[in-house]
């Protein structure tokens, strides 16, 4: 089994923490682990080399040897460097001053072009645009039919072509005319998948570009792509001058190192992410989140946002206090469960917590189970909730009866609560304290998250 990156980094940084100050030798050890981690995330070999060199230089330059918390420094430098390469901020879709704006969607076979085209159409409609679709994939069986079905689904206009019309250029030009006639302001051109080394088909794209003068040429890449991502992206960029990237299939567990490779070799921004097969599964790209993902630290930032939206900060801080003082009662346990549930589907939340992914592998979150647990805790007396040691056999039977569950279920809950307490204690030890995550505020947030993580772990 591969050790997960967060586990690795935690080990490395624990080692560093143990040594107090960062020396050039122990930094090499950390960099070596980071190198391996990036390679396992499918970042291209050469890109990794360059990246590590940059980090090394920055770390040295910043006088980390005298820094108070070397581990914090290294995490921060690695993460910042990753974020910087990925793009300093979210990059928006560009529009032509003279409509219709033409957007060409290009890429290798099966990367997700047609689906992404439909997603873009939906996104444009939501943002008060009027997209016109056209598929110029005259090669793959039922490719045009596929876009037609999707266009209908999202309610976007599509030019379907005339019978016998089988030239990409003809289709595109006619579609643009139709867009103008109908006052549609964006023409989305879905092209056939092709290999970057297929000269004839790459030529075809160049001709389309010359004819259509597109504002955006979006390269659609599969997040699961390995080392070869640099070759295909570089070639597409060289032939076409791509203006942005859509990275798809991020709803899986691919770490998406290809994002870094592609950004590195093309210099073009990632504009959107595909996170599912449905047409609404399109997200804007956030470099900081992607950096976290590649590093394997979980999508901490978006979780933080969600937590901030729905969790009472004061309560969270109180909870943290209790945690540190080991006063986490069944009542708190219940409140945590209710809070966590407000955040949305539990599994999604869990996945975002760094270090939780692996511990939760195979653990199913059952919403019904959650309701039942809350019911059981509600059947306890306030005294019992505050001190679970009171709950003996006869009390257990009473609680079971009161909540309409079995004694085994009550036992099970008490066991889970015990585990949660233990979990949280270890989390607060790991994340808190001066050697933990960079920045006091960050550390506090992560702690809150960790707590939440602990809260639902037993399910």
């Amino acid at each position: 089994m591969f050790e997960s990156l967060s586990e690795k980094l935690q080990r490395v940084f624990k080692d560093l923490r143990g040594q107090g100050k960062l020396s050039s030798e122990n930094m090499e050890a950390a960099l070596k682990e980071i190198r391996v981690a990036l390679l396992e995330a499918d970042v291209n070999f050469k890109v990794v080399k360059q990246f590590i060199a940059n980090v090394r230089e920055k770390a040295m330059g910043q006088d980390v040897l005298t820094a108070l918390s070397p581990a914090q420094q290294v995490v921060k430098i690695v993460r910042d460097e990753l974020t910087e390469i990925l793009g300093s901020k979210h990059s928006k879709l560009q529009f032509a001053s003279q409509p219709p704006t033409v957007v060409m969607v290009v890429g290798l076979q099966g990367s997700g072009k047609t689906t992404s085209t439909a997603k873009l159409a939906r996104w444009l409609l939501k943002n008060s645009h009027s997209p016109q679709l056209v598929s110029v994939d005259v090669y793959r069986p039922a490719a045009r039919e596929q876009l037609k079905v999707l266009a209908k689904q999202v309610g976007a206009g599509i030019y379907e072509g005339e019978p016998g019309m089988d030239k990409p250029l003809d289709l595109a030009v006619r579609a643009r005319r139709e867009a103008m006639d109908r006052g549609r302001d964006v023409l989305l051109v879905d092209t056939a998948g092709r290999l970057h080394i297929d000269d004839a088909l790459m030529n075809e794209l160049q001709q389309l570009k010359a004819q259509l003068n597109p504002t955006e040429i979006l390269f659609v890449a599969d997040a699961m792509t390995g080392q070869d991502a640099v070759k295909s992206a570089a070639e597409f960029h060289e032939r076409l001058g791509i203006t942005g990237v859509i990275l798809t299939k991020l709803d899986g567990d691919a770490r998406g190192g290809a994002a870094l490779s592609i950004k590195y070799v093309t210099g073009q921004p990632l504009k959107f992410l595909g996170v599912g097969e449905k047409t609404e599964a399109l997200e804007e790209f956030h470099p900081d989140r992607m950096a976290q993902r590649i590093l394997g630290m979980g999508d901490v930032l978006s979780l933080i946002e969600k937590v901030e939206e729905s969790i009472d900060q004061k309560q969270a801080l109180e909870m943290q206090d209790k945690l540190l003082h080991n006063e986490f009662s069944l009542e708190d346990f219940r409140d945590q469960l209710i809070q966590v549930r407000k955040l949305g589907p539990l599994e999604n939340i869990l996945k975002m917590i760094p270090g939780m992914g692996d511990q939760l592998k195979g653990v199913k979150v059952d919403e019904k189970e959650l309701t039942r647990i809350v019911a059981i805790i509600n059947s306890m007396t306030p005294k019992e909730r505050r001190n679970h040691m009171l709950i003996n056999g006869s009390r257990r039977r009473r609680i079971a009866r009161g909540s309409g569950s079995s004694v085994q279920e009550v036992n099970q809950l008490l066991k889970q609560y015990g585990q949660a307490r233990k979990m949280m204690r270890s989390f607060s030890g790991m994340m808190g304290g001066p050697g933990g995550m960079p920045g006091g505020k960050m550390a506090r947030r992560v702690q809150q998250l960790a707590k939440l993580g602990g809260g639902k772990l037993p399910f």
């Binding site: 390679l39 050469k46 099966g110 080392q227 070869d228 299939k249 567990d253 691919a254």
Partner: protein, 316 residues
């Protein structure tokens, strides 16, 4: 002679010719001149070992497997068991071959047709296209084939398979978009039995291995096939995109665990990706690579040949 689910059959000459063309296409390809990593090198030095690491990792073999190979090379160098470039080449070939040779599992032999071949994998890997190619292949071997359109989810997936049915002269059993895939498979097997068809190939919707509900759907399809044919499916082919990186290992694990993959089709090797993730896959999961895909046409499917495959890793 070529191996099929029904035993060995003599190879069709026309088919053999096509294989030859296909191999030529991948080997000489459109990639320009072919350079062997070792060509022109005289001594084994740190630079060469670095380059070797780059080649192996660059082929998606993975940092761990690559590390193990290099470690063993270094040990041999230290013990002076290895001096010549040719020996180095041989040692590395042997390592890779060992991993890839292990899982050579004979095909199960089907006494009573139809043989059920289920095709599974993540989104866009090349399942439907590979099914078209497989159908063409079985037909060339003189078998009758029925296709089951059990991807009832993706837009126009059924239509796509129907085009392949027309191209290869195979009937397609289909229901409406959104229908229960298991029901389609049940229909198809019944039809195959009634029509005394040799092969039935089941096209399934692409799914990420992390989606438990969709993985459970595959299990349900498998159970359905067993209701009608107890030892079905006879082959469960996992289609793996040749450009996939280390995620391929996780894919192979999960599809083997939940859907009982029995072999791999490695697609899109006509590009510049090497598909090296099959090395750790073969090693860890004992899962044989059955075919490689080298294009989008019906005859762009070749039987996997470990020696050829390793050869291609060292060509740029």
């Amino acid at each position: 002679m070529i191996q099929t689910l029904f035993g060995s059959v003599p190879q069709e000459p026309t088919f053999f010719e096509k294989l030859q063309q296909g191999i030529r296409k991948t080997r000489e390809g459109l990639t320009g001149k072919l350079e062997d990593l070792f060509a022109g090198k005289k001594v084994i030095d740190a630079d060469l070992l670095d380059e070797l690491e780059y080649v192996l990792i660059g082929a998606d073999i993975g940092v761990r497997t690559t590390g193990e190979i290099l470690e063993s090379v270094k040990q041999k160098l230290d013990r002076k068991q290895l001096k010549e470039i040719d020996e180095l080449r041989a040692v590395i070939r042997e390592h890779l071959l060992e991993a890839l040779r292990q899982p050579e599992r004979p095909l199960p032999q089907v006494k009573q047709p139809p043989a059920v071949v289920m095709v599974i994998g993540v989104n866009g890997a090349g399942k439907t296209t590979s099914i078209g190619k497989l159908a063409a292949r079985y037909k060339l071997e003189g078998h009758s084939v029925l296709l089951a359109a059990a991807d009832t989810f993706r837009a126009a997936a059924i239509e796509q398979l129907e085009v392949w049915g027309q191209r290869t002269g195979c009937d397609v059993i289909r229901q409406k978009q959104g229908a229960d895939p298991s029901a389609v498979v049940y229909d198809a097997i019944q039809a195959a039995i009634a029509r005394k068809v040799d092969y039935i190939i089941v096209d399934t919707a692409g799914r990420l291995h992390t989606k438990d509900n969709l993985m459970a759907e595959l299990e349900k399809i498998t159970r359905t096939t067993r209701k009608l044919i107890p030892d079905a499916p006879h082959e469960v082919l996992l289609v793996l995109d040749g450009t996939t990186g280390q995620n391929g290992l996780e894919q192979a694990k999960r599809f083997t665990e939940t859907a009982g993959a029995t072999g791999i089709i490695l697609t899109k090797l006509d590009g510049t990706a090497k598909g090296g993730v099959v090395v750790p896959i073969a090693r860890e999961l004992n899962l044989p690579i059955r075919y490689i895909g080298v294009g989008e046409k019906a005859d762009d499917l070749l039987p996997f040949d470990a020696t050829e495959f390793i050869h291609s890793i060292f060509k740029n």
